[in-house]
Amino acid sequence: MKALLLKRLLQLITVVWGVGTLTFVLMRSLPGDMAYRIAASRYGQDNVNSEAAALVREELGLNQHPLEAYWHWLTDLLQFNLGNSMVSGLPVIESVQHMLGHSMLLAFAGLMVSILIAIPLGLLSAWRGNPLDSVLMGLSSAIRAIPVFVIGVLFVLLFALHWGWFPVAGYGSFAHLVLPSVTLALSLAAVSNRVVRDAAKQTFRAAFYQFSKVKGLSAWQTFHRHGVRNIAVPVVAFFGIQLVSMIEGIVMIESLFSWPGIGHGLAHAIFARDIPVIQGAALAMGVVFVVLNTLVDLLCLWIDPRGVEQ
């Protein structure tokens, strides 16, 4: 466990250094005069002149030697000094905190709904068998082939625009959370219901499960005492992995629904070439990624201590 934590700490440092360096290179390698570009994104394309550019250049210290600038960049980063947004001028750290909170909320809601869908359906598949199993299998494969943003678009078209049950985009109320989290949940559940089904099927077939039936326990008692925990081991591990991989899906969903999360912020910042925000958002995602991975590993180790970390 100590080795695991040490390894993850190393990974965390790698993330900070990797994102820092990549965004630094990014900043330097963008075509055109940086000062002009920043001025354009600040004051609008039509109001850019050499005066505005000079002002920006002065303010951001763009005249430094590259190595010197790189050093400043990294030391700032280590002090969690992410600077200010080039577009809005607001501190990046504040907006990252704000975005991270919204992303967490969405991710958590998505995962919860996906659990509510996947566990009953998976158990049902394993318990009833064919033809229900085949139908659900086909359905999951079909949903898995549909990219998460396509599911989102379909939801917007049907539930927001056609029937008007939910707001199209935005945030603030519970109704705003429904469509994005259900979209995420559906694409997650399409995979995890198969995992639940496989785990349940294996447990139902196992000798100890059959034996407890033979010795006279009712179906529910058997399931309660001998099923739940055994099925939970692989299932919980998989939900953890899904939570980590959700980072990819969340970028799309946040952009589609204008959810003010980290993915939306990153996509927006890339579009506006707002490098401090790109750096902050990418950094936050990377750190969340490593932290979640570590938590999942620890959780799996706790549920099933036999599985020794490699």
Partner: protein
């Protein structure tokens, strides 16, 4: 390698889309950017088999080019990352501990970040560049092949068959073909099919959030956002890129055979 029925279905689906794309690119009289403002949002007819978009551009040409672009990227990424990953995976085992450790450091750096974030950062360096997308996606994907190949090769290298082959004086290339390749081929193939789906999906996703291939080029994700405002006047237009993305991903998943 014999394919199962579902894999045949997947293969035919993909070949069908590829054929549509090639025929569309060569036979359609309209270019992807040729506008006809007198004929916007026209439903499918004999001139424009798939209708026209909001600038009166032929959807048939645009879809054919977009599918071609997706396939080109998918196949390029798969070939590059599979070759690189498998070659390095075998090398890591064969070339001894030093090389293995050096590669492990590189892999750990790449694994520390979510794949899409790496691709997004690269996309920010040169927005709209096909080649930057290609490099970024391949960079993310080769790690998977590396890890699987390395794990399998470790077992094969120790096997009595490979060792006696070595002692009989067969060359490295022969040993690779005779012992290692048959062991890693099925896994590499499965990874490649999923990799193709992921590459296409990543490209469409970037297009969808507007940081991928830029207009007026045709790209499936980008077309989906461009056509979204016309969902009520021309639902058949929005449906085209969405359905095709799903079909391509589905085709690759079927081709992979095994579950993810």
């Amino acid at each position: 390698m014999t394919l199962r029925t579902s894999q045949w279905v997947g293969l035919s689906l993909l070949l069908g889309l590829l054929l549509f794309s090639l025929l569309g690119i060569t036979l359609s009289p309209y270019s992807i950017s040729q506008q006809d403002l007198n004929a916007i949002l026209v439903p499918p007819n004999s001139d424009h088999w798939l209708g026209t978009d909001h600038f009166g551009r032929s959807m048939l040409s645009r879809m054919a080019h977009a599918i071609g672009l997706s396939f080109a990227l998918g196949i390029l990424c798969v070939v590059t990352s599979a070759f690189l990953g498998a070659a390095l995976g075998v090398t890591a085992v064969w070339a001894g501990k030093r090389v293995d450790q050096a590669l492990a450091i590189v892999v750990n750096i790449l694994l520390a970040l979510p794949g899409l974030v790496i691709v997004l950062l690269f996309a920010a360096i040169a927005p709209g560049s096909f080649w930057v997308l290609y490099i970024a996606i391949s960079l993310v994907q080769w790690v998977e092949y590396f890890r699987v190949t390395r794990a399998i090769t470790q077992g094969v290298i120790q096997s009595p068959a490979r060792q006696s082959s070595n002692m009989m004086g067969f060359g490295i290339w022969y040993q690779f073909r005779r012992h290692i390749w048959p062991a890693i081929a099925p896994s590499v193939f499965t990874l490649a099919a999923f990799g193709g789906a992921n590459a296409i999906l990543t490209m469409a996703s970037l297009g969808f959030v507007y940081v991928g291939i830029q207009p007026p080029l045709a790209e499936l994700g980008l077309m989906a956002v461009e056509l979204f405002p016309f969902y009520s006047e021309a639902p058949w237009l929005l449906a085209q890129p969405l359905v095709v993305i799903a079909l391509m991903v589905f085709g690759f998943h079927l081709l992979a055979g095994k579950r993810a």
